[in-house]
Symmetry: C2
Subunit: 504 residues, 2 copies
């Protein structure tokens, strides 16, 4: 792959791409269906190689793509280069997942005439097949990692599904350029034509989501936008799964002991976390619970907050400022600290203050996502307040607890309750920064997601785009390779999990 | 458990139970929520013991329950005793699943400062937690195995979820009696009160499904009924997963070689399968494809069909007869063989005849479920017809291929296409009889189910009621037992699957 060179033609001053014509959508979906049939039949090793090739091409195009991303997203170069690294790492990680094959959850039950169910057990072998074409709705806040070649695309392609990628209007030129790199790499690597298709425009996205050829949707964005698409997907004549990652407040619970031991440190970390990326993360900590009179409060009040910085779009600015204004206007909410707003109403980081009793009295109004650099601090009197709040909130992507060793024996119930509310719990950690790993869980009950049993980050994200199929009594030659007797995959054989090499 | 004796008080002549009062539903759900908190905190071993106790109690009550089931379902004793055996086997099998623990899909990523994503990897450990209260809508056609103590109940309880069971009106007395046995066994085994609640009446079922405390729904029944409930579940302010198993035609494809080699045998097996249980199975073969002029046709025409037998209810009779009538009235459909209808319009087994071209010309009208003892035979000219039909049909629970060794090389594409349409493929096997095993897949694309990535039969059915949670940087004492360093479960450690005992 050392001969790779970028073929990116588009620049920040190129005209914005035209919207995809609505009447072109059925043909694009039909082409994706056809590509999907070939792709599903491509071996796992070959699919892994294709993902690697896409990653290599994106890495090679970094010097062209990153400036485009900077111009359209207003995010700094370092962040975007890091995000591109995360994106290509993710593609290669799914390649590893394919080569290993355990994600297929292969199960082989040999025929058993004495099966105690009361009837003989046939030979049954179960694997997973791809769902088919997926419409992915790109997010605005990660122009690489949750956009054209991001986690949804990587995991859908890995699963064996074609992708129709609805570009986010916040970075259309980057989307076209990235899609060109992806399509070029796919073609060069021998993948089927039309395995990956870029769609521009909300109407085209909705048309694709409701096209009978499409089998699933994936989305990262706002609760309102995600719910609208979820409703479309589930109200089709043939409803399809819709994996939406929507909104989250990501509460952080600080124990009295932790506040006493590390108040100023927690305060400065909180500032770093809620202002990171101008607060434009779905995992931004939105509510921080600290004991009344804690040094965290004084440290926040006197913290040196960063200045106002550009947000991703004017829409982000107005959306953030509206919610911040509504929060500020509520009784029992005051401003603890703030930086001055910048030009064009660009918000300065703001720390608001309330108390848990007020929060509990009006959870819907006060405990809500304010996407951008605003943090609501709520003081509490006793540990029971923490438990009461944990019980009162709705689904979250994350919940964090800051505690000391001495707190551990008393925190079991709080952690258990938070486990019923969030997809990821953190101990003495901030929720921003979502590592792409095997054990990651980026999901949670609604409204964190529309599919609480799934994750959009980490290797388990591939599971969303697969469906089990059992083969009963089949001859070896007609079985998928992974179900044949000679397959060397982790397999559940007659109920017992076997490691590679240990199977017959 | 040798002291178990039945406490069943209800008989076939007892008055029908009253409908659950609508205004009682919120309290019942609240009690289930509270029970669920205790149940989720119950160890896997203890939960397994409770499932065993329920199975033992049901076995002990068989002599009381089976006569009730016979009176209400009109099914014969042998079938019902076998079904009860299947039901209690299933409860105990989920106990085994709990004791082993691999269903938790435990993943442990140790902290890694050099993680190639570009940022250090934290310590992340992922397990599964129960979703919370599940409303299960019982099916009519399996008064034990898909009803009060059936697969949905067993897998939800195993997952750690409380169950609100909406009784099927087709066997209300049996439902009350079974629920009494279940609740008595749960209490005796020390399970939380209100872990299992019986609901009577459609309105109570709908009220429970839309109660904010309920986290999932499960259903086995008709496409119309299931879709209505799916729409309710997904249109809630907080939508919840709805696992509906709806309708399926279960096509059977017979190759020319198989028809030539075993025509009469295939015909007699087809008759046995489509008339089994008076055709009242979701896996009843509804369409049989045979080559033109095949001996299968003559064998079917002259087959000794069983006589008319009672169906589960008058509603079943009228539903079957309406669809059968509509099929018969279509052009290009004739009657190949039939038994006379019985009293009260009880249908005699009927074999209808058409050809694949007609089927393809009107798939929606002709390729449809006729729940009861009717089979539509379609003749084909060439193998291409089989592929064309496979491509034209919608989602199925099963698809079967009857072929000879000599067919194998040519059948790859047909099997691949059928794999995109059905949850279970059978080779030289009839779809009726769904074995409860580790590798079973009883599901499929819509309208076979509303959740194509799930199964309602087999050990994987437990996955429906679980949700992953990742713990980041937690001290050992606050981790769920299965995530601690000393846990001896099958675990993915730093990306590599480890068997029990091999972990640190």
């Amino acid at each position: 792959m050392s001969t790779l060179s970028s073929t990116v033609q588009i620049t920040a001053t190129s005209p914005a791409p035209a919207e995809t014509a609505l009447d072109a959508v059925p043909e694009l979906v039909a082409a994706a269906v056809a590509a999907g049939q070939r792709w599903a039949a491509t071996s796992r090793a070959d699919r892994a190689g294709v993902l690697d090739a896409v990653a290599d091409a994106l890495d090679a195009a970094g010097d062209d793509l990153v400036p485009l991303a900077m111009a359209e997203s207003h995010l700094p170069e370092g962040r975007l280069r890091g995000e591109l690294q995360r994106t290509t790492f993710q593609l290669r990680l799914f390649g590893e997942v394919l080569r290993e094959g355990a994600y297929l959850d292969v199960r082989v039950d040999h025929a058993d005439p004495a099966w105690p169910m009361g009837a003989p057990r046939p030979d049954l072998r179960r694997t997973q097949v791809p769902l088919g074409p997926v419409v992915v709705f790109a997010a605005v806040n990660f122009p690489f990692a949750f956009s054209v070649a991001g986690g949804d695309t990587a995991s859908a392609l890995a699963a064996g599904c074609p992708v129709l990628l609805k570009a986010h209007p916040g970075h259309l030129r980057l989307s076209v350029a990235t899609a060109d790199v992806v399509r070029g790499a796919l073609t060069a690597a021998g993948a089927p034509d039309d395995l990956f298709t870029l769609l521009v425009g909300d109407e085209a996205g909705r048309a694709a989501l409701t096209d009978p050829g499409v089998q699933a949707g994936a989305f990262t964005g706002s609760t309102v936008g995600g719910r609208t698409l979820f409703d479309l997907a589930t109200s089709r004549p043939v409803p399809i799964p819709f994996f939406g990652e929507l909104g989250s407040v990501n509460p952080v619970f600080v124990t009295r002991a932790a506040a006493e031991a590390r108040g100023p440190e927690i305060a400065s970390q909180a500032v770093a976390s809620f202002t990171l990326g101008v607060g434009q993360f779905c995992t931004k900590p939105g509510v921080l619970l600290v004991p009344e009179g804690s040094s965290v409060l004084e440290a926040l009040r006197t913290a040196e907050l960063p200045g106002a910085a550009p947000m991703l779009s004017d829409r982000m600015v107005s959306g953030h400022n509206r919610v911040r204004h509504e929060l500020e206007e509520l009784p029992h909410v005051s401003v603890l600290a703030r930086s001055a707003d910048g030009e064009d109403a660009t918000p300065g980081p703001t720390v608001l203050l309330t108390d848990v009793a007020s929060l509990l009295a009006d959870v819907e109004e006060l405990f809500r996502e304010c996407f951008g650099p605003t943090l609501l601090v709520a003081t509490y009197a006793g540990e029971a307040d923490l438990l009461a709040l944990a019980q009162a909130i709705d689904g979250q992507l994350t919940a964090s607890v800051f505690g000391e060793e001495s707190d551990v024996p008393a925190l079991g119930e709080l952690v258990t309750v938070l486990g019923t509310k969030a997809g990821r719990l953190l101990w003495n950690g901030w929720p921003t920064g979502v590592s792409v790993t095997y054990a990651q869980q980026h999901g949670g009950p609604y409204p964190a997601t529309t599919a609480p049993s799934t994750t959009s980050v980490g290797t388990a994200a591939i599971d969303r785009f697969l469906r089990p199929v059992a083969f009963q009594g089949f001859p070896q030659a007609l079985l998928p390779a992974e179900l044949r007797d000679a397959a060397a995959l982790p397999t559940r054989v007659d109920g017992t999990l076997q490691r590679p090499g240990a199977t017959a």
